[in-house]
Symmetry: C2
Subunit: 408 residues, 2 copies
Amino acid sequence: MDIASYKERVEKIHDELETSNDMTGWINYPLMDHEELFNSIEKLKDEICMEADVFVVIGIGGSFLGARAVQEALTPYFGVLEKGTEVIYVGHHMSGSYLQQLIHYLEGKEIYINVISKSGSTMETTLAFRVLRLYMEKRYGEEAAERIIVTTDPEKGILKAIADEEGYKRFAVPPDIGGRYSVFTPVGLLPIAVAGIDIRSFMDGAKNAALELKNADLTQNHAYQYAVIRNKLYNEGYCVELLASFEPSLKKFHEWWMQLFGESEGKEKKGLFPACVTYSTDLHAIGQFIQEGSPILFETLLHFNQIEGDYIIPYDPRNEEGLNYLAGRSFNEINATSKQGTALAHAEGGVPVIQLEMEKLDAYHLGYLMYFFMKACAMSAKLIEVNPFDQPGVEAYKRKMLELLKKK
Amino acid sequence: MDIASYKERVEKIHDELETSNDMTGWINYPLMDHEELFNSIEKLKDEICMEADVFVVIGIGGSFLGARAVQEALTPYFGVLEKGTEVIYVGHHMSGSYLQQLIHYLEGKEIYINVISKSGSTMETTLAFRVLRLYMEKRYGEEAAERIIVTTDPEKGILKAIADEEGYKRFAVPPDIGGRYSVFTPVGLLPIAVAGIDIRSFMDGAKNAALELKNADLTQNHAYQYAVIRNKLYNEGYCVELLASFEPSLKKFHEWWMQLFGESEGKEKKGLFPACVTYSTDLHAIGQFIQEGSPILFETLLHFNQIEGDYIIPYDPRNEEGLNYLAGRSFNEINATSKQGTALAHAEGGVPVIQLEMEKLDAYHLGYLMYFFMKACAMSAKLIEVNPFDQPGVEAYKRKMLELLKKK
């Protein structure tokens, strides 16, 4: 695919992003010295892991998707955490059933809560915080204030005022970093640390990505290459990008990715619709559509070469299913082969396939990858000439809902 | 929207479906007498709930998506089941990490396993069954045979042969019912029962849907109306249908729905791409795209009027966030209002909105709804002149993967 023709536009946008002061604080954030912040997060994490059974994070959109993505990718599928404390998310929807069951589940458990909202005025989060704050006060009395942590704007907003009034611990969301670009700030770092994940390694990945992807040269910068390829395919008429990964623990990562791209690009009647699948599961579900359905999508295969944990296919002398030829190989090896098979089959079916290879599924590489996607996303949105950092359309349903609520 | 012009085509397709013998066994299956089957499933369920801590279901695609959808929709978000036994799914991907952790998790727990595969030859399922079967034999010796249940074709295939040889309990997948239409057969019913859900109520819902939706008259048949509206929108150039629901427990239901429509319609370069969102969570993520992005999608809002469990918004004398005007109302009520707000906002943004209202989120109404979608899907696929019951494209990646595996 000829991408060289994008060279000058990419350089121009790169310079714009590097020199802009408009919500671009995330670009250099991982390069700054955060030693003091890391220490205070780690100290608090140690306290929480010592004192609490459950850490409840109250947030919606960019205030929880990043932390949850990293947490689910790097903690066990079954049973309890070996290190770290159970993290539960709430305040990201209006389900009364979920909230009732959560309160029931918390009975008899030691709790800390962390409300995360830049504005402090999103209704889902604010209502859940009201419930949990009253619950904490009932449970812990005056001690509650030591178990409530607020992550919000450092200068303004109702949450900041409440935290100052009540003496809650407070972390700052830098004002020039928007929600979906905030996973490397305390928004993401505190819950990730509490889940037992090494935030220094995570931030090292982001830092190295920030260094490597500072290169304006399209032939060197993989994030810009990805953005350009997406743009070419979009211009050719593809309207859906399907991100496919091969490990079920990445499902929440998909949701983070969908917000990042969907909210950054989906405006002014433009943008690729972001969708996600987990293989090989979904090859037996939506796979038929991808292979032979409407030719509206291209596919980005995300593969990690090393995954913690594996299982060797055992030899079975009965061999009724004839699979002894695979005995001694590992499931992860077969999984990697299924990725190759998928790429070949879909390409033959006429689906453009982009392949992203990461060395290892760990904190470092997730940090790298999330920064990579953020940089690619900003470039990509600028290539279709929309603002990557606003979300004017999110207000529409909020306004309608408020009107309806106040009418009653 | 004028749908009357579809009247004759719908009647013709209705007659075709009713009189066809080609994989249409699901149409009248809920109307047949299954008393003996229900009794034997319930008896086995009682045994499993008495003897086992974990019921492991091994299956992929239509062999697990339906059961998992119903289970997740109707069992608690947190903690252990009050009735029923924990159900865990495996064999639906190639993750060695997942399998290793599952085996570790099973140590010291009492287990039953249920392998579900019509053909008995799907690699993901077959490999996982090999692992779990050997594990069961090591754990239980000869008693293992009493704890292994096979759900497969009643006449042929390797799983049937193994079950007969070893004396495993066996349930039949009717040969004229394909995987994605099989949730009302033992494929779905046994795991659903073990999870503590009333299968008779579930089947009553399906039965009533089967009766009501036998009506060829488009003005009376809601499933056909839904199919026709989808078809009109597809012909107008919309290429993505977004199913949106308002309860996070419906996420796995979404995956079942995506397979049903994606695999039934996505062929011959045709079909609507099925995507799903959970509100209000995703209004703060992909919501921006829906409101203002590329005008490629329409939306189907799925709402249940009654949900088990709710929470009343408390009064807080401090009222810093100014939300006391909502005190005394319930979260589910606010959630319903957010649905109204969403419908208004998206319609104003130019997104066509279909609304599906169900009375209650329970076994009966899920049974009704799943049958409704199956009937709508068959009609919908026939309206774009593809076969709703095959999936030729799923073989493509399997062939490629097998070639690669055998080469090594």
